[in-house]
């Protein structure tokens, strides 16, 4: 089963680039949803044996990251967004280039960190770091509130990928807690996006610039 993890991680990395190059909000949200579903599959594969709590964990991940949260985001797009383009501060080509540089850096950096065991794919650490960087990039270079939420989700996906190495160390209860926190965070962000759109009749965070020195 573990042999499948590497190809899936490659797909996850490609999805990062899809997200970076996406000019439409729908594509961006779809990319992050597919990433969430792949994460759920990888949880089962990383564990090897099939136990009830692994199934629960994987199911919860797929349900939340692959279905519930993307649906919430689609709903927000339908309800509040006036224009459906992504509106980047840094252009798409430049974003893709930065994403490539980030991935290369992640590969280099993970070379300096010793990898413990041979039974796990060596791609996990660079894939995780590269996904975190991609999330950060989307978070900082896209001006819409919804795209910032998607950036945060991609960043969280990166952290979750690293968690695959530690399936035994992180108890079920804590993982559920992390997922619950993530869900509530996105939910609260959704409410705020709604309020932003009512207040400014736009969801661009460029409007949120009154508080500064």
């Amino acid at each position: 089963m573990k042999d499948f993890i590497d190809p899936i991680l490659v797909v996850v990395l490609l999805l990062n680039f899809v997200a970076l190059g996406a000019s439409r909000l729908r594509t961006l949200i779809q990319a992050v949803a597919v990433q969430g579903i792949l994460l759920g599959f990888m949880i089962v594969m990383a564990h090897g044996s099939f136990m009830i709590w692994v199934a629960l964990m994987a199911g919860a991940t797929v349900a939340l990251k692959g279905v519930v949260i993307p649906r919430m985001l689609f709903h927000a797009v339908r309800e509040v967004v006036i224009r459906r383009e992504v509106e980047p501060i840094v252009g798409f080509v430049a974003s893709l280039f930065l994403g490539a540089v980030g991935t290369a850096l992640a590969l280099l950096f993970s070379k300096t960190l010793p990898i413990a065991h041979d039974h796990m794919s060596s791609l996990v650490v660079p894939a995780s770091l590269s996904t975190v960087l991609t999330g950060f990039l989307i978070l900082t270079t896209r001006s819409k509130a919804i795209t910032q939420v998607v950036g945060y989700l991609i960043l969280e996906n990166g952290v979750f990928i690293f968690g695959l190495l530690l399936m035994e160390a992180i108890p079920f209860l804590v993982e559920l807690g992390v997922l619950l926190d993530l869900f509530v965070a996105i939910f609260v962000m959704g409410i705020i996006i709604h309020k932003i759109s009512r207040e400014f009749s736009s969801v661009s965070t460029n409007m949120l610039s009154e508080l500064k020195e």
Binding site: T112, L113, P114, I115, A116, H117, S128, V132, F136, L139, A145, Q148, Y152, L155, E156, G158, V159, F162, G163, L165, L166, E168, A169, I170, P171, L173, V174, E175, G177, V178, L180, D181, V184, A185, V188, M189, I192, K195, I196, E199, F200, T205, L208, S209, E210, L211, E213
Partner: protein
């Protein structure tokens, strides 16, 4: 008992969601505070160890200090809450009360958790509970502050989760059973993989440092504290930041046990001085007095990590400073809230003569400023002086000099703003609001003020012992 400490506030939070009366609901907040304080007092005085869930929850000497602090601050702020919410009868306060109580439960969970994953969940939960509190005024500006707080806080905390994973991986790499239990990690610390431990500490400092408001991750703080009701500001600056500080101490303790003391100390001293300096720059000529308080909080968070980084006597001073600063921030934020309400503005251009207009809140604001900048006989004077002595005894003369220079700049910068607010003749605009000082809104401030002066004049033996225990517990000998 350990479960009741966490669950009683949460149960009362659910009650707050159910109670229909907007007028009587806020009284649940002081009720929860008193019950929590009573249980905390009992737990702290009874002496026998408090633990639960097979080592996941435990009250250690460091936790005792923070638990006592948040319980006292919450209770005093709790008595301010009903009178404050009474001034805003037009606002539905159901979620405000429930989130405030949920925040108390989650802060308690942070203090008690000895499982680093559980602690992460609890810290993120405090972020989520406080976000609706910041939005209480429902204005465009508070919306902006809430968005920044939620997004910057969540991203920072996500990095802290990655750091926690790195730490667990460092034990896996050493061929040990991976764990996130604090007590186990301290025990096996010498065998942990060094590169992973270093990377973990940096990520955790950035992550939880965002929550604590250390520069350069402090950018949410002026916005959030500037727009939040004074009551929420006091709880954030005294309670939530202390919890984030505690979580940084947890990882610092693992680094000390590793033993990687030199690595961790250097980073802490640097980031401490940097935070102080950044705060000082923004405090000079600051026109908004609530934002000024936020920068003061950044400065004091810098002092805390600086003291811990210096170690020994300075670490003792830093832990004392956590308490004295938390209590004094109560004075400042609640007074500032009252002044804001009376003038309908928080800019020094509009706010003049607060001492004439509000004889109590104006004077306590001035007194709070003098105490927080380290004037005797306030508590922060003793704690800041202890950190200075620790720096000089340790031979860190350059650090001591910079520390004193920044404190002087802050005193002048903050003094200019505060004096403009309290002195002079009230502007005509001030007469337009009906707000006057009233007992329920000033007695909590006077209690905070009394406590912070008391800590400067006399530190009870039990507190000194608790502080010594905490330093001994933190600075484990490998």
């Amino acid at each position: 008992m350990v479960f009741w400490l966490i669950f009683v506030p949460l149960i009362i939070a659910v009650a707050a969601l159910v109670v229909p009366s907007n007028r009587w609901r806020p009284w649940l907040i002081p009720l929860a505070g008193v019950v929590h304080l009573g249980m905390t007092g009992w737990v702290l005085s009874c002496g026998h160890p408090v633990a639960g869930l097979q080592g996941w929850l435990a009250l250690d000497p460091l936790g005792k200090l923070v638990l006592g602090l948040i319980s006292v601050i919450f209770t005093i702020c709790g008595f301010y809450a009903p009178a404050y919410l009474d001034l805003r009868p037009e606002r539905q306060n159901r979620f405000f009360c429930a989130c405030l109580l949920g925040m108390l439960g989650m802060m308690t969970l942070v203090v008690l958790s000895h499982h680093l994953g559980l602690m992460w969940v609890a810290i993120e939960a405090t972020t989520l509970c406080t976000a609706p509190l910041l939005f209480f005024n429902h204005s465009a500006r508070s919306l902006e502050a809430t968005w920044k707080y939620l997004l910057i806080g969540s991203v920072g905390i996500a990095l802290a989760l990655l750091g926690s994973f790195f730490l667990a991986y460092s034990s896996l790499h050493a061929g040990l059973v991976p764990t996130l239990l604090l007590d186990d990690l301290v025990k096996i610390a010498p065998q942990l993989s060094r590169p992973w431990l270093h990377a973990a500490f940096v990520l955790l400092l950035v992550g939880y440092g965002t929550k604590m408001g250390l520069a350069p991750m402090h950018t949410w703080k002026p916005d959030a504290y500037g727009e939040a009701p004074g009551l929420v500001g006091a709880l954030l600056a005294g309670g939530v930041t202390s919890c984030a500080f505690l979580s940084i101490l947890r990882f610092y303790q693992i680094c000390l046990a590793a033993p990687e003391a030199a690595f961790a100390r250097e980073i802490l001293v640097f980031i401490g001085l940097f935070s102080m300096a950044v705060a000082a720059v923004f405090m000079v000529r600051q026109r908004d007095f609530k934002r000024m308080l936020a920068y003061s909080s950044v400065e004091h968070m810098g002092i805390l990590v600086l003291g811990i980084g210096l170690g020994g006597l300075a670490a003792f001073g830093a832990l004392l400073h956590m308490i004295t600063n938390g209590v004094t921030k109560g004075v400042l934020f609640l007074s500032a809230g009252n002044i804001h309400r009376a003038y309908g503005s928080k800019l020094t251009d509009d706010v003049r003569g607060a001492m004439r207009r509000l004889p109590v809140s104006g004077v306590t604001f001035l007194a709070g400023f003098l105490i927080v900048t380290g004037s005797p006989p306030g508590g922060p004077f003793i704690s800041e002086f202890t950190i200075l002595t620790g720096a000089i005894n340790g031979g860190h003369y350059a650090v001591a000099a910079m520390y004193l220079a920044v404190l002087a700049i802050v005193f002048i910068g903050m003094g200019t703003t505060v004096l403009r607010v309290v002195q002079g003749v009230p502007s005509p605009q001030a007469a337009s609001t009906a707000y006057r000082d009233r007992p329920q809104l000033v007695i909590p401030i006077l209690i905070f003020l009394g406590l912070s002066i008391l800590l400067g004049l006399y530190i009870p033996n039990s507190l000194t012992t608790a502080l010594h225990d905490a330093v001994a517990y933190l600075e484990v000998k490998p």
